[in-house]
Amino acid sequence: QEDAPEEPAELTPFTFMAGYIPQANLPFVGVYVAKEMGYFEEEGLDVMIEHATGGGHLQLVTTGEVQVTTQDAAVLLQRVADPGLPLVSLALIGQRGQQAFAALADSGMETPADWAGHIVGYKGTPPPDLFALLDVFDLTEDDIELVDVGYDPRILTEGRVDVYPLFRSNEPDTIASWGYDITLWDAADYGVPTLGLTYVTSQQTLAEQPEALTGFLRAALRGIEYATENPDEAIEITLTYAGPEADPDHQRFMLESELQDAQSDFTEAYGVGWQTLEQWQSLADMLATYDITVPEDVESVFTTDMLAAIYDVDVDALEAEATATEESE
């Protein structure tokens, strides 16, 4: 590849804020590894890594304090629609949604049809995938008791709720480590379109620093590629961020789970992180079904320019192809 710049003084300062605590979420790992391996420096970037424990990271991106953060694709769509954050997804790392619902195995529940009459938790606002799942089994909100729960799976094991919302790459392993078997339901398994974590920047940064963004993304994707091939090393690097509180086995579980979710037909074809209007549009349509405001112009919410440059994909050709398929139908 290109030569690394000689003088470190020329490095462009750049802030990445991971949308949560330091752990082995794949988009985080890509950045940790890239920083550790010097990929960023090769791109001429001096990347500072921060973590958002609250929800302020999107605000910080819009004000330019942070250049790139991570965000769940569905949430991104919502924030762009309301309150109108000028955000853009640079790459879709999670090709499939992370959310799922869990019950203790000995509750005897097998399908969401069994939820009827039980307490179902949600975090803040009941999510669309919940309603989608209910729809699949011809249940309505009235058939279950909804309660707002925090991010604490002990609520489930201690019996305060029957069905608990969680992240597939995270809590299932934790709960298992406590000696409980669980049953998981993922809306995606029932044909509901879901998407996972993205790298996000602001329109303004996109306009002003396209080279830096491309460099960042290239390095981060290299980091993910490295993690795919060397998960042990990637976990070791991650652990230097995650602190002694983190359990290495758990981090390994998370990484592997998210590596799987990062694969799809699109990534097979074009590379990790690839995103298409089709994916975004079906997600937006699903959200709209449940009265969630989404942007009119879904195309503006993501860009493949950087991905195309990195993977050397001819976007025009793709578009022509897409138009051709559409016409042939």
Partner: protein, 262 residues
């Protein structure tokens, strides 16, 4: 002298109310101006006009939420204050317990309660109970410390007089120490009043079901800043109200200290 002050107070009060209103209006205008001129986007800091519109358009929503939060706050404050006063009294009546109880109290107080909030939810469920307990845990400490200070600093001449009558500890406590500690108690209430609101809000923030805290949390996670600030406005207003009530109570109950003029 006394009544003169009272009549002055009325004048002062009116002036003060004007000052307060002028101040608030001025600050809001300044804020509005900055937001408009600097074109600060609504998802960073909303203009007060926008916040107030949101507030009035959703008065019912906020009123319901407020009712829950204020109930939690007031019940928590009541419990916290009672526990604080009782503990302080206990320490005053049984000084050999001081070290032990203060140690425990400082322990409780040094623990960020957010850290154990989830445990409370696990044990007590999703209702008001854990929020009330958190609020009580937050508010008892200022009361305990201040009232205990006040009880300890009772007038030595008065103490001697009651000791000369061989008054019981309890009598000394009730007739000398407690009245003497009232100024400290009211200072503590002025501290704990606003604190109780924060306590209830933060408790709702973590795994809440209802209330202003939940409204704020939702607004925050949706980056709906007008809602967030509307909630903040409400809290600020209620805080003022609670504070004013405390002031009023203080004037009524601590009547024997002539307030000097200079």
């Amino acid at each position: 002298m006394t009544l003169k002050i009272t009549s002055k107070m009325t004048v002062k009060f009116d002036n003060n109310l004007l000052v307060t209103i002028a101040l608030i209006v001025g600050l809001l205008a300044l804020w509005e101006g900055i937001v408009t001129l600097q074109q600060i986007p609504v998802y960073i800091v909303p203009a007060p006009s926008r916040v107030l519109t949101t507030l009035f358009n959703n008065l019912g929503y906020f009123a319901d939420a407020l009712l829950v939060t204020v109930s939690e706050a007031l019940i928590g404050l009541f419990i916290g204050t009672s526990v604080g006063v009782l503990l302080a009294s206990l320490l005053s009546l049984r000084p050999n317990l001081e070290r032990g109880i203060m140690t425990l109290a400082v322990f409780v107080k040094s623990t960020p309660l957010v850290a154990i909030a989830p445990l409370l939810t696990i044990w007590l469920g999703f209702g008001m109970a854990p929020k009330i307990i958190l609020t009580a845990l937050l508010t008892f400490f200022p009361v305990l410390v201040n009232v205990f200070s006040g009880l300890s600093r009772a007038d030595v001449a008065l103490l001697d007089t009651l000791r000369s009558w061989h008054a019981s500890r309890w009598e000394i406590f009730w007739h000398v120490r407690m009245p003497g500690a009232l100024p400290y108690l009211f200072a503590a209430l002025k501290i704990s009043g606003p604190l109780s609101l924060i306590g209830a809000v933060v408790a709702e923030w973590t795994g809440a079901s209802q209330g202003i805290g939940k409204a704020m949390w939702l607004a925050y996670s949706n980056l709906n800043m007008p809602y967030l600030f509307a909630a903040i406005f409400i809290l600020a207003f209620v805080g003022q109200f609670v504070y004013s009530i405390t002031l009023w109570l203080e004037r009524r109950f601590v009547f024997w200290q002539p307030v000097a003029e200079a």
